[in-house]
Amino acid sequence: MTAQGILGEVLPQGRRLCTASTDVWLNGDSVDAGTAMILDSNLSQQARESMHHLGDALGPGDVYANVGSYANLLDRYAQVNAPSPLLEVSWAQRTSMCFGPFDLTGDLRTTDGNVLRKIRVSIDCNKGASNSLTCYVAATQGPGIPLPDTQIGSTSAVLAGTGRVQTQLTMAINPIRPSTRRCSQGPVEFGPYADLFVWVAWRSTDVSDAIYSVSVWEVR
């Protein structure tokens, strides 16, 4: 058996049960402990494996032309020696992409209690020169652009070396209060929803820098 915890214990064996549609389970039979363990283990296993793929993007290809990410913007300006990596890019559409909204599950146990699952982003890119391409990942609750005081998770990486690489950034999400969203109509039902948007941005200083694809998924 594997470790207990919020995700429950699971058996090491394969686990498939036949159902009432067959003639194996009959009315009036009692449930044996072995079957109960398998059922319990299956449900725990499904909870463990319930992680979702969240988003994808192709391109945009060459990114050097977008180095002036603040160009023409009236509501953002580039800062010299920005106090946060989040301010090194404008998060405008030419230099970033945005996925969501997603509902993450808080089944990652830490010493501070249960927190939301982490988000992993894979970026297939080409580094024209060492340290020329910087990738940024951030999360917000709601569609507003990530700022130091509105982000609920962020990370960045300056990519050393040259050539093609599939780099990965894993981002922890700070505790949030879920918003309420409609879950059905007539009778109306509401439920908690994390409303999480995931942002990916880049900053390039070499003409050969390129981004070919972006993938976003949940991890613990």
């Binding site: 915890g5 449930v31 044996d32 499904q46 909870a47 979702h52 192709l58 808080g106």
Partner: protein, 403 residues
């Protein structure tokens, strides 16, 4: 009373269930709760795909299609569409301005779906309302939102949702931004009303007796529990989806492969054929990593001479598998599928995805690649544990450990 769908999985300890001893009915309450959690909270994250920026602005219609299949207990789905920026014009000197171009955005729902909210009057997703593109002078995004009633959609057959962006008059656009289609989680399930599959927490029969019947329609004892466990494993899908533009007559904005040799697709819009982009994600493993993740690969294509779309799935640290979807010849957009498995043996169960293609003759165009988990229950035999608790046995005593 409806069963609340918990926000978190329910903890359990298997050592409370001893072989050859009665099982406490309290476990039934936990199973009901865990099933409500799975069915209510793990609805489908169908697609969130950032479409490419068109190389050239156009006023023409540019549709994109999202594959969709409902999860068992979902009621509503949320559709979010990000608009791309307006055109920026230099007025001479340092004066620049946004042109104030407008577009219409039309959405054709999947089979069986109806609108609950098609958007506010100024941004209706009806294909007729003129919507102002966001200014490139501002950093904020502009999202269009729709809420869809999906209770009438099939939970087993995939159909497409179509998003079409068109310029108003001669106003041009550069395509759609991100398209997100996610199902809304449930706050509670009410199986007693007949519409939901979940169990009532108050259900457990203290004798833990089996009870036959149309289990999924209501709280009908252990048989319902077994049915719903299977339902949760079979119909709560993992999705991976890549969408592009699907021009009615394929042109230079639609992905294409004109060679009879398998190779990189022309991904257009700044990518071309210079690279074959690599995606990465994590495979689910419900029945052990050796079993792999059962999936259906679905592609939308246009190939008058036919061809093949190849998904190359490579577990991290492992060997690549070529998963070929055969595309029959035809004059029009069609769907081809392949049922297969993807190994979950990679580091952290992660694997890499590449998509290549070849045309039998002429050109093969592609607008969608969707990979959808299709876990199916293989009924082998009654599952029993040996007395030592370590081996799963079939009724005839043979080991099911590798099943």
């Amino acid at each position: 009373m409806p069963t609340p769908a918990p926000l978190l999985p329910q903890e359990s300890s298997l050592d409370r269930m001893l072989v050859r001893r009665p099982v406490s009915s309290r476990h039934g309450a936990r199973w009901a709760s865990q099933i409500a959690y799975l069915l209510g909270r793990h609805t489908h994250r169908v697609c969130s795909c950032a479409l490419q920026v068109l190389s050239t602005r156009t006023a023409a219609a540019r549709p994109a299609k999202v594959a969709y299949c409902r999860s068992p207990d979902v009621r509503l789905a949320l559709l979010m569409i990000e608009l791309r920026f307006d055109k920026l014009t230099s007025g001479g000197g340092s004066v620049i301005y946004a042109d104030g171009f407008r577009v219409t955005v039309g959405v054709t729902l999947p089979t069986g779906a109806t609108w609950v909210d098609q958007g506010p009057p100024e941004a209706l997703l009806d294909g007729a309302t003129a919507i102002l593109l966001p200014s490139p002078l501002l950093s904020g995004r502009k999202w269009l939102t729709g809420i869809i009633d999906v209770t009438g959609c099939s939970a087993t057959t995939v159909s497409d949702l179509t998003v079409t962006i068109t310029g108003v008059g001669t106003d041009t656009h550069e395509g759609i931004g991100t398209v997100t289609l996610v199902e809304m989680p449930r706050g509670s399930l009410a199986p007693e009303l007949g519409g939901d599959a979940g169990l009532q927490i108050a259900w457990p029969d203290p004798r833990n007796w089996l009870e036959e019947g149309p289990a999924v329609t209501g709280p009908r004892g252990m048989s319902a529990c077994l049915d719903l466990e299977r339902l949760a494993s079979e119909q709560l899908r993992w999705w991976w989806q890549l969408i592009g533009y699907e021009e009615a007559t394929p042109g230079t904005d639609t992905w294409a492969r004109a060679s009879t040799a398998m190779g990189a697709i022309d991904w257009r819009q700044g990518l071309g054929t210079t690279v074959s982009p690599r995606f990465r994600t994590r495979a689910r493993s419900l029945y052990g990593t050796s079993a792999g993740m059962a999936v259906e690969i679905r592609v939308r294509y246009y190939a008058t001479g036919g061809g093949t779309v190849r998904v190359i799935a490579t577990p991290i640290g492992g060997a690549a598998s070529n998963l070929d979807v055969i595309c029959a010849a035809g004059a029009g957009w069609q769907v081809a599928t392949l049922a297969t498995t993807i190994p979950a043996t990679g580091t952290d169960q992660e694997f890499r995805i590449e998509v290549e293609a070849k045309a039998t003759s002429g050109t093969l165009y592609l607008s969608q690649v969707a990979i959808r988990q299709t876990e199916a229950c293989v009924v082998a035999a009654t599952g029993l544990l040996a007395e030592d608790g370590g081996t799963l046995l079939a009724e005839d005593g043979s080991s099911l450990a590798t099943e």
